[in-house]
Every structure is written in structure tokens, then in C-alpha cells.
């Protein structure tokens, strides 16, 4: 059973601000989903390795050649706040500005 505390913790981990209504909604959805997850747990998978890709891909190597990068100006243009060629973000660490 998932509790309200778990929902708040997931939201914090996912950096997702939720309204009170959404917290209630996802509390219910997560619990419904657990039933589906438990169904999988009944399957015997002993000795079976997990699949992370549908078609096996071995180490893909390429020669170490310098290619063309995206134009810096164009990339920066998409940023919500850009100063002196950098993406600007609000304070990250506590302390003086």
C-alpha cells in the first residue's frame, strides 16, 4: 500500500510540483498500478536475464573524429534565460548571492 508520504517523496525525487488534487489522484493511481506490478511478480523468471534492448547491440564504436557541433547562438536562443553566452538559473547552493 502506498501512502501519501510516498507520493510526496516521489514528487520530490521527480522535481514535480503537485496540487492537493493531484496528490490524491496519483495516490490512487499508484495503488492501482501496484496491482498490475504484482501480477508480474507471480511470473517465474529464475535464471532469466533482463532485456534492456529489443535487438542486441554490441559495443558500437566510431572513429574519434572531430565533427561539427550545433551553432552556439542558435542553441542558446531556445533558453528561457540567457546571459553572456550561458544559461542562467536561480540560486543552487545556500548562502550569499
Amino acid at each position: 500500500m502506498i501512502e501519501r508520504e510516498d507520493v510526496l517523496r516521489m514528487a520530490r525525487l521527480a522535481r514535480l510540483e503537485l496540487s492537493e488534487e493531484e496528490i490524491e489522484l496519483y495516490l490512487r493511481d499508484l495503488n492501482n498500478f501496484l496491482a498490475s506490478g504484482r501480477k508480474l511478480q507471480r511470473v517465474d523468471v529464475s535464471g532469466i536475464e533482463g532485456t534492456s534492448h529489443a535487438v542486441a547491440v554490441n559495443q558500437v564504436l566510431r572513429s574519434d573524429v572531430v565533427g561539427e557541433s550545433l551553432p552556439r547562438e542558435a542553441v542558446l536562443e531556445a533558453g528561457p534565460d540567457v546571459v553572456d553566452g550561458y544559461f542562467k538559473v536561480p540560486r543552487i547552493v545556500e548562502g550569499q548571492e
Partner: protein
């Protein structure tokens, strides 16, 4: 498409006229259908003018040069708004083209615009788009399916001759089925995902949607093949349009997995698919009942993996480098507020579920378990293809449902019941119309082929297509 190509070649129609006709059809019908998020009228006409110029000089880039195409709005187009159906990206203009877009432009195809989808391709009805629901051209009180509902509806409504979609659990095949068009989910790795906004990278593929099997095959031939910018595509061969051979079904071993004809399947859908199977048998195919018992777990496995991968992929939407930012005093609050305001309900639901199954205390019980069940499903599909050449099933349990009908998310996930297995196992699968129900809605039939067997799948699809009588009721 051959006909259009010939008209272009003979100079009886120009690319500009073709684009103009599509734009007229869009302006006439899209107020109701809502297949497009962005129509690039000016860009499409410019590209068409360039195509006509190339043709006049005898410098066409391909036989299809000048035939316009629509692109699902989670595929990056340089300078052309790419929203993924999300508020978060409502003003985002990519700074590069996806490889598939580059390839279509390299073949001379003008891009009409970007089609609607469930937000970040999460959904089966386009009802989760921040830009409104796409309506089914056969019955506008019903959904077009999803997540590539915009592409399917645009093709069905005659707004675009063909379109690109993406498919993670059925997102090309289910809307193709609902809208009576042909759609292919290629073998995993056959088409480059570079520039396609990821939902679940171990399952996602780009594929063609068109009105006929041959058109889908032509469009596929333009996008398939290895791309150094997508490491999962590097072993993939290109695809050349085959010489059509109806004899291909003589002696063909067709697997009919009984689990795909079980309870929950609508009688009219089953009837149409069984009739198509009988016609194949009459033409010399050998039907073979087969068991894919693992399909019982396909949706639960899919759901666990897709939410896990999605929650991880969507971490990049943080309001720093692109998208909408909600200002706050510190970065963590800014991330949480931007994501809270930018994402819709289904995206948040999947992020929450995915974060849960990936969290340290639940990782083994849920995520790893699902990866291992995936292996069982994959092994079972591999064994099936040792016994048969193709598998044939219904594409979806029902025809298009009503807008607003599926309120419960778990119920919505069930519309991928027959399609998710192909993504989990990486095989190719195509949906084509095989009949119409009593309400005039298209019914889809799915043909699954082993890895890289697209040519066989197209050949068989073409035979099925030829044996299906066209529906009494057309779209719009």
C-alpha cells in the same frame, strides 16, 4: 503515389499545386478534425517551388520529389515549432532536423506541418494533447486513436498523402487501425531515432503512415537504414521497394495466436480478421494456431518499462535550456514549478509511476522483474517465428471509441493489448484496414514479422489489401 509521381513527371501537376490542394483540404476540414498543431503553409509552398524548379531542370532528388508529407510533432524539424503536444514546449523551435526529416527532405518531400499527438506520445487517443483532441474523420464524435492520431487522421481526411508517426506500444498501428490507414512499426533499430523526442528509448520507433500498403512501403524506403547518430540503428540494412508478388502467400506459414482472439475482442473485429485469414488460406497460405501466452503480461510489462524510461527521459525538461520556465528563488523550486505547470496529467502520472518503479527500494521488484518478463516474451516470439513466417492478429480489441469514453487510465492502456508485444520483442508489425464494422468504422488487421522482415510483411499486407472490399462509407 505512383500515380502522383507520374503526373508530376508528365508535368500534368506541379508540386505547388499538390501542396496547395493539401492546404485547401486542411483549411476546409481541420477546424473540425484538429489533426495539425502547426501548418507550415509558407515553408511547404517554398519547398514545393524548389521541387518544381528541380524538376524543370531535370534534377529531381527521387521519383517522389514534390509529394508533400506531414510529420508527427515529436520529431524535430529545424526552425519549425515542435511541441510534442505539450505546454512545456509550446514555443520550442528545434535547432536541428531529425535524421528521418533530413532523409525526407533529401528525397524532395515538402513538409506540410506537424501533427497532433498525446503529450510526449503518452496515450492512445490524442485526448492527452495540450492542443485539443484529434477527431476521427470517419466519425467526429470518436477519437482518431493515438498517440499518432494527428498523422492518421491527416492521411485519412486527405489532408496529407502520407505522414510519419512514432510507435512505442502501438502508437502508429492503433490510430492507423481506427482511421482506416496503413501504418508500420519497423523493427527496432531499422529507423534512426536521432532527433525524435524520446518516450521510451528501448521501445520507440519511427514509421510510415499512408493510404495504401505500397505508399507505406515507399515512405519506409525513404527513412530506413543505419545512421551513425543513433547507435541502435547501426546494424540496420536500408529498404528497397520490392517487386510485388502475390504468390508470396502460397505455402506461407501464418501463425494465429489464440490469445489475441480471446475475451474483450469485439465480435465484428474478430469476424473481419477471420474473414481476411480465410481469404489468405484460399490463396494458399497455411494457417497455424499458435500460443503467445506471454501476451497476458505484455501490458503490465510495457507499462512498467515505459513509465520507468519516460520518467528518466523527461528529466531533461527542467526549464533551463529550452521550454517554459516558471521563475522561483532557487533552482530546485524552479524545476518543480516549471515541470508542474508544463506537464499534463498523463505525463505526470507516468513520471510518478516511473519514479516509483525506479526508486531504490522498488527497483528489483518492479523494474528488473519487468525486464526479465520482457525476456520471456521476447523468447516466446522468437520461438513462434521458428514455426511460422508471419503472425496475424487484430490490431486493436475494438474500433474507434468515443471521445471521453475511457476515463480510467488502466482501461486506456488496454487499447495497446495486441500491439505492445511487437515493441517489447523488437519485431516489425503493420496494421492495415481489413473491413468496416456496422457503424462504418474501419477495422485493423496486424501482421507481425520477425526482425528485419519488413519486406515479407509488406508483401503479405499487399495481398490482404487486394482481397478486402473497400468500405461503403468514406472518411469526411
Amino acid at each position: 503515389m505512383r500515380q502522383l509521381a507520374q503526373l508530376l513527371k508528365a508535368g500534368e501537376i506541379s508540386s505547388q499545386e499538390l501542396v496547395q490542394r493539401c492546404l485547401e483540404q486542411i483549411s476546409k476540414t481541420d477546424g473540425e478534425i484538429n489533426a495539425f498543431i502547426t501548418v507550415d503553409e509558407q515553408g511547404a509552398l517554398e519547398q514545393a517551388a524548389q521541387s518544381d524548379e528541380r524538376r524543370a531542370k531535370g534534377q529531381t532528388l527521387s521519383p517522389w520529389d514534390g509529394i508533400p508529407v506531414a510529420i508527427k510533432d515529436n520529431i524535430s524539424t529545424l526552425g519549425l515549432r515542435t511541441t510534442c503536444g505539450s505546454r512545456f514546449l509550446r514555443n520550442y523551435r528545434p535547432v536541428y532536423d531529425a535524421t528521418v526529416v533530413e532523409r525526407l527532405q533529401g528525397a524532395g518531400l515538402p513538409i506540410l506541418g506537424k501533427t497532433n499527438l498525446d503529450e510526449f506520445a503518452m496515450g492512445s487517443s490524442t485526448e492527452y494533447s495540450a492542443f485539443g483532441v484529434t477527431k476521427n474523420p470517419y466519425d467526429t464524435s470518436r477519437v482518431a486513436g493515438g498517440s499518432s492520431g494527428g498523422s492518421a487522421a491527416a492521411v485519412a481526411a486527405g489532408q496529407a498523402p502520407w505522414a510519419l508517426g512514432t510507435d512505442t506500444g502501438g502508437s502508429i498501428r492503433q490510430p492507423a487501425s481506427f482511421c482506416g490507414v496503413v501504418g508500420l512499426k519497423p523493427t527496432y533499430g531499422r529507423v534512426s531515432r536521432y532527433g525524435v523526442v524520446a518516450l521510451a528509448p528501448s521501445l520507440d520507433q519511427v514509421g510510415p503512415m499512408a493510404r495504401t500498403v505500397e505508399d507505406a512501403a515507399i515512405l519506409f524506403s525513404l527513412i530506413a537504414g543505419a545512421d551513425p547518430r543513433d547507435a541502435t540503428s547501426t546494424g540496420s540494412p536500408p529498404f528497397a521497394l520490392p517487386r510485388w508478388d502475390p504468390e508470396v502467400v502460397r505455402g506461407l506459414r501464418v501463425g494465429v495466436p489464440e490469445e489475441f482472439f480471446s475475451s474483450g475482442l469485439h465480435a465484428e473485429v474478430e469476424g473481419a480478421v477471420r474473414r481476411a485469414l480465410r481469404r489468405l488460406e484460399e490463396q494458399g497460405a497455411v494457417l497455424q494456431p499458435i500460443s503467445l501466452a506471454g501476451n497476458e503480461y505484455a501490458i503490465d510489462t510495457y507499462l512498467t518499462l515505459v513509465t520507468a524510461e519516460a520518467s528518466s527521459c523527461l528529466a531533461r525538461f527542467d526549464g533551463v535550456r529550452y521550454g517554459e520556465r516558471v521563475p522561483a528563488a532557487d533552482s530546485n523550486t524552479m524545476f518543480a514549478k516549471s515541470r508542474g505547470a508544463g506537464f499534463g496529467p498523463e505525463v505526470k502520472r507516468r513520471i510518478m509511476l516511473g519514479t516509483y518503479v525506479l526508486s531504490a527500494s522498488h527497483y528489483e521488484a518492479y523494474y528488473e522483474q519487468a525486464q526479465r518478463v520482457r525476456t520471456l516474451i521476447k523468447l516466446e516470439v522468437a520461438r513462434a517465428f521458428e514455426q511460422v513466417d508471419v503472425l496475424i492478429t487484430p490490431t486493436t480489441p475494438s474500433t474507434a471509441f468515443r471521445i471521453g469514453e475511457k476515463r480510467n487510465p488502466l482501461e486506456m492502456y488496454l487499447s495497446d493489448l495486441y500491439t505492445a508485444t511487437a515493441n517489447l520483442s523488437g519485431v516489425c508489425a503493420l496494421s492495415l484496414p481489413c473491413g468496416w464494422d456496422s457503424q462504418g468504422l474501419p477495422i485493423g488487421l496486424q501482421i507481425m514479422g520477425n526482425h528485419f522482415q519488413e519486406e515479407l510483411v509488406f508483401q503479405v499486407a499487399r495481398v490482404v489489401e487486394a482481397s478486402v472490399e473497400r468500405g461503403a462509407k468514406g472518411a469526411v
